[in-house]
């Protein structure tokens, strides 16, 4: 291909300043691998095993506060070239082996080294955290249309025994997002500890039902190897079975705790991404199409570099197949006061979460209760507490614009 001097890359003169910064999406998840390596190679101190957790919960929120937000977007004419540039895909591919090696090293480390309970706890949290980055990667690749990316998504999600996410997220969550039907959209007044009991089982059964329906249409058994919930689960079973055979059955509860903590990272993300936001029901009985104001966003620089732009969530839901490097910010979107990691800290303390977020939610929906996804049991209480009033019920099924 010959290139011209004026527009050598097809980017119409646009320079992507984040191009190299996406490497943080590889470096930050790699910190879970650094802990055991420092313990073995430098000195047997438990503090090393906390490095990635401290980084996630203290250093990243601090960097987000210091570095601030990025409101820039790639110009639309540069997007086709940006999407076609294989570099961005290679960065995502590279994270797959990093996460696998990190998981294996941590499990084998636990199998061979006697740690005090707080050392084991540190490894569970850091390795579970790296599975959270795996869910983020599986999310990015699972949305894409190429077979390679879809399989890499399944292989990555298999690490945490969470392969059903691939089905559940694309065909379930994206269809039902910001409605009471969605187990993966949190409601106003719902704490993270209540949400998790709805989100985890709800997501699994929705995935299973979607696959059962698809396979029935295909005329195949739900237990066939074409079941995309079973495919990654089989990889997980072989992986976990092999590690048990090697390290003994004592490793199983630890691996299950790690898988749970990984899945809980997704629960946290789901909790903060759509808290209380609601799509209106149209006269046809369908919900209005998912709009940018149905997701919470964060433009904080560092956490976005570490998470493949996941926090530009509105554009993702409006355009799910758009690649991470092209996701945009829009004015007047519901905004989170920090990046995801800072917000996760807040969710652990529900009174604090409600204090910060309920006010933002009311601002985001213009204090209109018909635009709020309430926890039914708390609806009355919240309406009273914030002095909200129902608008006159629209007649004849008309929906206000």
């Amino acid at each position: 291909m010959t290139s011209t001097a004026s527009a050598p890359s097809g980017l119409a003169g646009y320079v992507d300043r984040k191009r190299r910064l996406w490497l943080f999406s590889l470096g930050v998840p790699m910190l879970a691998l650094v802990g055991p390596l420092l313990y073995v190679l430098v000195s047997p101190q438990v503090i090393w095993l906390w490095v990635s957790t401290i980084f996630a919960y203290i250093v990243i929120p601090a960097l987000d506060a210091v570095l601030g937000e990025d409101l820039s977007n790639p110009p639309e004419e540069a997007v086709p070239a940006l999407e076609a540039d294989p570099y961005y895909r290679y960065v995502t591919y590279a994270l797959v082996p990093i996460l696998w090696v990190s998981f294996l090293v941590n499990i084998i480390f636990l199998g061979y080294y006697d740690l005090p309970w707080y050392g084991t706890l540190a490894v569970i949290i850091s390795t579970g955290g790296s599975l959270g980055f795996g869910l983020n990667l599986g999310h990015e690749m699972g949305h894409k249309k190429t077979e390679l990316e879809r399989w890499l998504a399944k292989i990555t999600l298999a690490l945490g025994f969470y392969g059903h996410f691939f089905v559940e997220h694309n065909r379930g969550h994206h269809r039902d997002v910001a409605t009471p039907e969605d187990p993966a959209s949190s409601r106003m007044g719902e704490s993270i500890y209540r949400f998790v009991f709805r989100e985890m089982p709800g997501a699994f059964f929705r995935a299973w039902d979607l696959e059962a329906q698809r396979l029935e249409r295909c005329g195949k058994s739900v237990w066939s190897l074409d079941n995309e919930v079973l495919q990654p689960a089989l990889i997980s079973a072989v992986l976990y079975g092999g590690l048990i055979a090697w390290l003994g059955i004592e490793i199983l509860p630890v691996m299950l705790l790690i898988a749970f903590w990984g899945a809980f990272q997704l629960t946290l993300a789901n909790y903060i991404e759509h808290y209380g936001l609601l799509r209106r029901k149209e006269p046809s009985g369908r919900y209005e199409r998912c709009q940018p104001h149905h997701s919470w966003n964060s433009n904080h620089l560092f956490s976005n570099w570490a998470l493949f732009h996941l926090q530009r969530h509105s554009d993702h839901h409006a355009h799910p197949t758009r690649r991470y490097q092209s996701l945009r910010d829009f004015p007047d979107l519901p905004r989170l006061p920090s990046g995801y990691f800072g917000m996760y800290l807040l969710t652990y303390f529900p009174p604090l979460w409600f204090k910060v977020m309920d006010k933002r939610l009311l601002d985001a929906v213009g204090r209109d209760p018909s635009r709020i996804n309430f926890l039914p049991a708390k609806r009355e209480l919240l309406m009273r507490r914030y002095g909200l009033v129902d608008a006159a019920a629209p007649e004849g099924g008309e929906v206000a614009a």
Binding site: R217, H317, T321
Partner: protein, 55 residues
Amino acid sequence: MSRYQCPECGYEYDEAAGDPHQGYPAGTRWEALPDSFTCPDCAVRYKEDFKPVEE
């Protein structure tokens, strides 16, 4: 045989090819797809949003 395209992500349903992965064999007419059909790639657009592709 006609083709229908998702206005969001460009997914194309071709009646001649069907979408066997989704359980719609080759030759399945657009009208025969359930009303609950959503775009298999982006899940943002419903059946009624799809646009016929001009030949």
